[in-house]
Symmetry: C2
Subunit: 319 residues, 2 copies
């Protein structure tokens, strides 16, 4: 693990999923650069198929299965975006996707899973209930578990974001990503390490869902107790991503809820794009001064754009 | 006028303003295409400098002035986006822009004018009050009036949107744009006619601000009585755009307020971009079935993305 040998070449991963995903654009803003005193590059995975980067990992997972495995379908428990992405990837291959979601997931995320043809099962909004419901379905159907982060195929798929990003913007000093299960953050580490790039990776987490930060600090995986507006990050850091981050990430930093909401609103207002709360978490770290950005070239992964437009956090929560 | 001879070559206009504007992207969506049964191409002027297409006309106006004219500054009355755009263009040339705005303009549009260094004067929210306040300032300063639509330099600048759009997406059957003062819609007509393209131009207007539609129907310019959520269209159709539309537009159609709000929300949700209500007006015509779209290649100009994010119409008006 330490030297990232044995990892699947991300160029091969990209070839496998190329037909199933978008090469998303990178946006810049003079206004935001001036505010930060840095050069910021925003990788718009909110424009990705299914509205989040999860389309990458899910596609890599589904198209890596043998015919025999595929025939029995796939299953996952997901706070939303991974479920939708897996449903879509499965539909592309013509196989069944069993999606277990907490019953407090945004309605829009549930609709999306159904629209892509996923078989949706709602459960209590605890991590244990999710795992249990998923295990039961796997036992009944023989479906393959597609964990949202704890799988090298998922991590490799998300890692193609880093590959693409560095092709679009060479010589980044730093890439920032939010961290929930850790699939994206660890995928970026794998990308930078296997591409032999000097680019640092920093994961950013809500203070009120800081199990990754606590795990990083203590060296032992800590259980999650999420209570954050960033619904996409209401999940625990997974084992494999944790080990990858320990071996290759620079830092994990945390941000306040107020900063997340302010960052989200600023991105909407200046970049004129719709991002979900989780996607605003890295830029919140810049706004709160949690990262040294001065005169650096900084990549920010905007991870998704799925949310209930009638429940904007600066309207329902702060006003 | 009838044959559009004598119009300034829009390629020359583009050369004049090239340093001052963005070449904005064109977005597409499988979901929206499927809904419409057509191929839709969205030209994202919400990503334009100052957040709207008005940056084009304003830049062309300011950079067309003689040194002598420029020294005395420019002035305009504007519902918002044109004012911001003129302020910025003037700042680029280092001259003064006097901006008169109705006192009920969105706060965000007022802030923007100030941020770009415009000298802002608020007046009563009537068309007469705006004209009067503007005339007074022009008398005092000798500034040149930059009308938001009734000027061939403004129309030509907006027309570069059409030039760019047809380069990005060849062989469009139809281009749709919202109509307020008429600068964009007439600019598109000029573009299609001077480029000798077969592409039709249809202007779309809120039913509750339908002076352009009434003018078109009666052949005589009608006074505006706007009462619409589309704040950017709360202005009267101007004389020169009206004549150009009479000579070269295919149609003017109107849409309901509910359709505008639904169209705006749909664009945000599916395209993941922020557009203001006015920008959603053309897509509202597709949603309401006001235009024959089946199997056609249709360009939709998303005119801007400036609005108060705390006052979304589907939250404050309909719920």
């Amino acid at each position: 693990m330490e030297n990232f040998k044995g990892w699947e070449d991300l160029h091969l991963v990209r070839t496998r999923i190329d037909h199933a995903i978008h090469r998303t654009p990178v946006l810049t803003s003079e206004t935001l650069n001036k505010d930060a005193g840095a050069k910021l590059f925003f990788k718009c995975e909110n424009f990705q198929k299914t509205g989040s980067f999860k389309a990458r990992g899910a596609a890599n997972f589904v198209f890596s299965l043998s015919q025999e495995e595929a025939a029995k379908g796939v299953a996952t428990h997901s706070s939303g975006n991974h479920g939708a992405a897996l449903a879509r990837a499965a539909a592309l291959r013509g196989i069944t996707a069993h999606i277990i979601m907490p019953n407090n997931s945004p309605a829009t995320k549930q609709e999306t899973v159904r629209r892509y043809g996923g078989k949706l099962t709602l459960c209590d909004p605890t991590y244990e209930a999710r795992k249990l419901a998923c295990a039961k379905i796997i036992q009944e159907t023989g479906a393959t578990l597609a964990h949202s982060a704890d799988d090298y195929r998922i991590i490799g798929g998300q890692g193609t974001t880093g590959l693409e990003f560095t092709e679009q913007v060479p010589d980044l000093d730093l890439i920032l990503a939010p961290i929930g299960g850790g699939g994206m953050a660890s995928g970026l580490v794998v990308a930078m390490k296997t591409l032999n790039l000097r680019t640092e990776v920093i994961a950013v987490e809500p203070e009120q869902a800081d199990d990754a930060f606590q795990s990083w600090k203590t060296g032992v995986l800590q259980p999650p107790e999420p209570n954050t507006v960033a619904d996409g990050l209401r999940t625990g850091l997974a084992e494999q991503p944790f080990r990858i981050l320990q071996a290759g990430a620079s830092e994990i930093v945390t941000v306040s809820e107020a900063a997340i909401v302010a960052a989200m609103q600023r991105i909407w207002k200046v970049l004129k794009i719709v991002v979900e709360p989780s996607a605003a978490v890295p830029y919140a770290a810049i706004l709160e001064g949690k990262i040294t950005v001065q005169n650096r070239r900084i990549g920010v992964v905007l991870t998704g754009g799925n949310l209930d437009l009638t429940k904007l956090p600066w309207v329902t929560q702060l006003v």
